[in-house]
Amino acid sequence: MMRLNSDVELLDGMPIAHIRSLSMIVVSDLHLGYESHMAKRGTLIPKVNLKRIVKDLGKAIDTTGAKTILIDGDIKNEFSRVEEDEFNEFYDIVQLIKKRGLSLILIKGNHDNFIERYREPFGIKVFRQQAEINGYLFFHGEELPDVKKDTRMLIMGHEHPSIGIYTTARKEKVRCFLYGSYKRKPLLVLPAMGYFAQGTDVNLEPKGNLLSPIFKHVDIDRMEAIALGYGSTMSFGSVGKLRSARP
């Protein structure tokens, strides 16, 4: 368990943040329905995404005893509509969460068109742009957030950050959280939870290629990269340092 402060911690080896005061776990970018999206374009990828997510969420609920789960955007993959498989997987996730007695909050991401229609039947909360809950400001990341005076921390997804690390003539890609500040408030960028959202190596990619407009205001090199993998979560120091450590 890695603590960012007395209230926020990152679960070991998982792309999940835990906010103790809210009894909430936060994840992002699940991209449900990815495999069937690919299958319809001629690549038959076996379905593993949902299985992995269910496993991780189950474990996170067990260890934290959280009462709420917040998905910080891009729960599904297809832009233009809700595909059948997306709906089925979405349904499974909601059922799991309900069965475990948690409530679900969705922040709408750029992939999440038409998601509002499930607000009623599933009894979930959907926020279109951002949500502020007890000083925590959740937003997906494709637009700049509206920071309030009493904001304690900003939490976003969208970017799918990872870092590229060279071992002997091979490059390893490791997903990571990014932790820094925006407008003098702490900013946490969540890694993608989706199995196939491999991630952008933020220490290798030129800054201009980053997706979120927030990086026009935040120097990513000054953010801390907190990598997860092989069952643990640990800080790798600043992105800038990792960038210069390249061969």
Binding site: E35, S36, M38, A39, K40, R41, G42, T43, L44, I45, P46, K47, V48, R52, D85, N88, Y166, T168, A169, R170, K171, Y195, F196, Q198, R246, P247
Partner: protein, 891 residues
């Protein structure tokens, strides 16, 4: 039963089986029967299965076709010739198909004219029709196809891929059911690869739906073992191998061959002298013959030779290059010019070694070793067009290992000892493709389908569980029920054990994605620092790159960093030792058998040289004007020129004086030494087992040593051994070597290699090919072609996901099988390891100050460029100098 016959029928017996018109036509056009025809006319007329191997110009095509044409005219004259296919001819070469069509059209017309002349208007009354012939390849226009469907040709000329399409087209199958003969041409180009395995399943499926078992005729150049090729051709009926008679006429053409060295001393003779001498020889051969064909082993070599010949000897348009990178038009032009006899010389990498008719060649010259006896014979066999002519070939060789290699190769060719091939066994991706194909034509009981598949020789031992895993995979077992309609290519009902096609798209998916040849593109090489583009390499070359490999591109050295999709990232290499030559993926590996023969020679000749050293008390190297008698006598048995004898003798003499030991096939010498600048330690394994077995062995040794030392190890693999490159402070002790050798066994090597392969470029790229063949990545889907880069990204996601659900996923299993058996030679590597364990092969470790002469070519291998090799030569020379100084100091 498979049997070889060497008793030809007499001419009357052979010609007696022919229809009178056909016989008359043959008599008018040919003076006599060629060697294969003396067997084939009668055997084929009896509808026997037959495999004919014969050289170019031996009337091979006619030997396969004439009895069939004769039979078809019998039907025609009896008025029973129907509009359906009686004979299918399959060739892997599309160009050859047009040739065959042309070459058969004329006889058919001439024979029919003779019938017309004799019968007059009665042809109409008696309903005598001409025998028809049609070509069906990927290039055949839609209009022509429709015509063929309406009125099928009696003789159908096609490719493996087009045949696979036809047997799945319900309407066309009707006209194929009565096939009586199937000819497979260039069988040596098919039996050893997945394309051929694919064809074998098409053939068995055709047999299963035919009214009666058709006769199979296989045609090809020399192959070994012959019975393996025959088994590939005929397959099984039930549990019994079909009968086949083998006619081996491949040696009917006389061979005249010679290995030549441009200098007595290949090391100390200056580069320009060697180069001058090489071109002088080439020129004199060209001048003294009407048409000469030169083979280099690489495309760049081809261009350079043409350039140099033109520059040095003022040739003009009468010299031309022919290789795979040239446009189709250019290649066809060159072939046409050759046929017309208007070229003095053609230079080719490999593209002219196959089938296509190129007219009369007087002489073949090979620059550098062609690496296999079969290939040498095939290439030299392109000269002397008639079977009565002598096939003449010279091999000019520029380094001492190649010198020994070609000498033994040509000696083996003269002794008719050919390296062996093997049929790939049970490839699951090809199987998956055919199971989908089968489901298109009808509903199958799984046992019945298994029986059809097992009648192919390649699948006769297919484990039932592998077959079921493929059916399960295709039925979408690996996803939940609700999405099988998307993932499943077939349905499978466990109750009834039946399977069949699923979905409206199945047919289209099959037709558009069928085949075994993967899409490939050029890879951009980019500097990892500034992202600047450096040049292109072939994907095949990229897939061979290992951690830490260093290679040359555009005259500079680069270190392989990593690859991403269609880009290869490199950094500037701060060393002068490339580990892999740029043509590595172009050049064929040395075969295991030939390596063994070389090993035998090394051991024998080393004894001869040792005896000479002893009896003459030689202590240092001396210059010889004349070869010692016993040496001259021993080497005189090989087809080599005078210079070569000096070169070979000098090579062995140096090795023995310097290191005492000469590595051979029963003595694996392990030599620890240093680079000239002392910066690197070399551990040189003189393992003479061919490149593919060495590829497997070297990885295992590198893994163990790297674990032991906990550091990065460079690896150079070639035909005569492999070299581990370590930084200069390391010392590898004899005990460490013993421990390593003890831990690598025939049992342990496979899991070690799999673990090692898993994260390599090779695995990623090969998995893409396999996934494409097994229809997991549809290269062409709903009319859209997926770009290769996209295919690659998707293949990686696929690989990760498949591993996640099942590490033994059938396509992962197939990828390992392909790499271990086709890229590497794991079975042979295991054989070597068993030999070591049993003590038949011993290993010995020595330490040298500088690498011994037999290691020099291995160390400079990365520099090697067959024709132009200045840099390499410089390095070789300095190595050589150090060794000589050392020998002299010892004295």
């Amino acid at each position: 039963m498979i049997q070889i016959t060497d008793k030809p029928f007499d001419d009357e017996q052979s010609l007696g089986v022919l229809n009178p018109y056909v016989r008359e036509w043959f008599g008018k056009n040919f003076d006599e029967l060629t060697p294969p025809q003396k067997f084939s006319f009668k055997l084929i007329s009896e509808s026997r299965n037959i495999l004919i191997t014969a050289p170019t110009g031996s009337g091979k095509t006619m030997s396969g076709f004439l009895s069939i044409i004769s039979k078809l005219f019998d039907y025609s004259l009896a008025g029973t010739l129907e509009d359906r296919v009686y004979c299918i001819y399959v060739s892997p070469l599309r160009a050859l198909n047009n040739d065959i069509h042309r070459n058969l059209q004329r006889p058919l017309e001439e024979i029919y004219k003779m019938v017309l002349k004799k019968k007059g208007v009665n042809v109409i009354k008696e309903g005598i029709k001409n025998v028809t012939i049609g070509v069906r390849t990927g290039d055949t226009p839609q209009k022509e196809r429709a015509k063929q469907l309406a009125r099928p040709p009696n003789i159908l000329v096609t490719t493996p891929e087009s045949l696979a399409i036809m047997i799945n087209s319900q309407r066309f199958v009707e006209s194929l059911k009565g096939v009586e003969f199937l000819i497979v041409d260039e069988i040596h180009e098919l039996a050893n690869n997945k394309r051929g395995v694919h064809l074998s399943l098409s053939i068995e499926r055709l047999a299963a739906m035919s009214d009666k078992d058709f006769a199979r005729v296989g045609l090809g150049a020399t192959v070994a073992p012959l019975d393996e090729a025959a088994k590939y051709l005929v397959g099984y009926r039930g549990d019994e191998l079909r009968d086949c008679t083998i006619v081996d006429a491949s040696w009917s053409k006389k061979l005249e061959v010679m290995a030549m060295s441009p200098a007595k001393d290949l090391i100390n003779t200056p580069d320009n002298v060697i180069e001058d001498e090489t071109y002088k020889r080439l020129n004199s051969i060209i001048e003294n013959n009407r048409t000469t064909l030169i083979f280099t082993n690489t495309r760049s070599g081809t261009e350079r030779v043409v350039f140099n010949l033109k520059r040095r000897f003022h040739y003009g348009e009468d010299i031309a290059a022919h290789h795979g990178s040239l446009s189709r038009e250019t290649r066809l032009d060159v072939e046409e010019l050759l046929k017309k006899g208007s070229l003095k010389c053609a230079v080719s990498s490999t593209s002219l070694e196959l089938g296509v008719d190129i007219g009369t060649i007087d002489n073949v010259v090979q620059l550098g070793s062609p690496k296999s006896v079969a290939r040498a014979v095939q290439r030299i066999g392109r000269s002397g067009h008639s079977y009565k002519a002598v096939a003449r070939g010279e091999m000019i060789v520029l380094n001492r290992d190649d010198m020994v290699e070609t000498a033994i190769m040509l000696d083996s060719a003269l002794k008719r000892r050919i390296d062996t091939f093997s049929v790939p066994k049970n490839p699951l991706d090809v199987l998956a493709q055919h199971v989908v194909g089968m489901s298109l034509t009808k509903k199958w009981n799984i046992d019945e389908a298994y029986d059809v598949i097992r009648s192919s020789y390649a699948y006769h031992d297919l484990p039932r569980e592998d077959f079921e895993s493929i059916v399960g995979y295709l039925a979408g077992d690996y996803v939940g029920l609700e999405s099988r309609h998307v993932y499943g290519k077939i349905w499978f009902d466990k109750e009834t054990q039946m399977f069949g096609k699923r979905g409206r798209l199945a047919q289209a998916i099959y037709m558009l994605n069928l085949g075994t040849i993967p899409d490939q593109v050029a890879i951009n090489v980019v500097n990892v620092k500034d992202k600047k583009w450096i040049g292109n390499i072939e994907e095949e070359f990229l897939s061979r790159l290992k951690e830490g490999d260093i290679f040359t591109l555009g005259g500079k050295l680069y270190k392989f960093e990593y690859a991403k999709e269609m880009k290869c990232y490199v950094s500037d290499a701060n060393t002068n030792a490339p580990t892999i030559p740029p043509w590595y993926s172009e050049q064929l590996p040395l075969s295991f058998e030939l390596a063994n023969q070389i090993g035998e020679f090394r051991s024998e000749f080393a004894d001869v040289v040792r005896a000479y050293i002893k009896s003459n008390r030689i202590k240092s190297l001396v210059q010889f004007d004349k070869l010692p008698e016993e040496i001259d006598e021993y080497l005189g048995r090989l087809p080599v020129d005078e210079n070569s004898k000096f070169a070979i003798f000098g090579y062995f003499l140096e090795q023995i004086l310097y290191a005492d030991l000469v590595p051979n096939n029963r003595l694996l010498l392990i030599e620890q030494s240093k680079s000239l600048d002392g910066k690197e330690v070399y551990v040189i394994f003189h393992s003479l087992y061919g490149r593919r077995a060495n590829d497997a062995l070297s990885r295992a040794v590198a893994i163990k040593l790297s674990d032991m030392l906990n550091r990065e190890i460079g690896l150079m693999v070639n035909d005569n051994g492999f070299v581990l490159v370590l930084d200069g402070r390391v010392n590898v002790t004899e005990r460490m070597v013993k421990e390593i050798m003890g831990s690598i066994t025939a049992k342990s090597i496979e899991p070690m290699l799999k673990e090692n392969i898993r994260r390599t470029e090779m695995m990623k790229r090969r998995f893409r090919y396999v996934a494409g063949r097994a229809f997991m990545i549809l290269r062409n889907y709903k009319g859209r072609r997926m770009q290769v880069g996209r295919q690659h990204i998707n293949a990686q996601l696929l690989l990760n996901a498949a591993e996640e659900i099942d590490p033994d996923f059938p396509l992962i299993k197939e990828t390992y099988r392909e790499i271990l058996n086709e890229v590497m030679d794991l079975p042979r590597a295991e054989q070597v390891l068993r030999g070591i364990k049993a003590g038949e092969i011993s290993y010995k470790m020595i330490n040298t100050i500088y690498p011994s002469p037999f290691a020099h070519n291995m160390i400079t291998f990365g520099h090697a460029d067959v024709v132009l090799m200045k840099e390499r030569h410089e390095y070789l020379k300095s190595l050589h100098k150090m060794v000589l100084e050392n020998i002299n100091r010892k004295k």
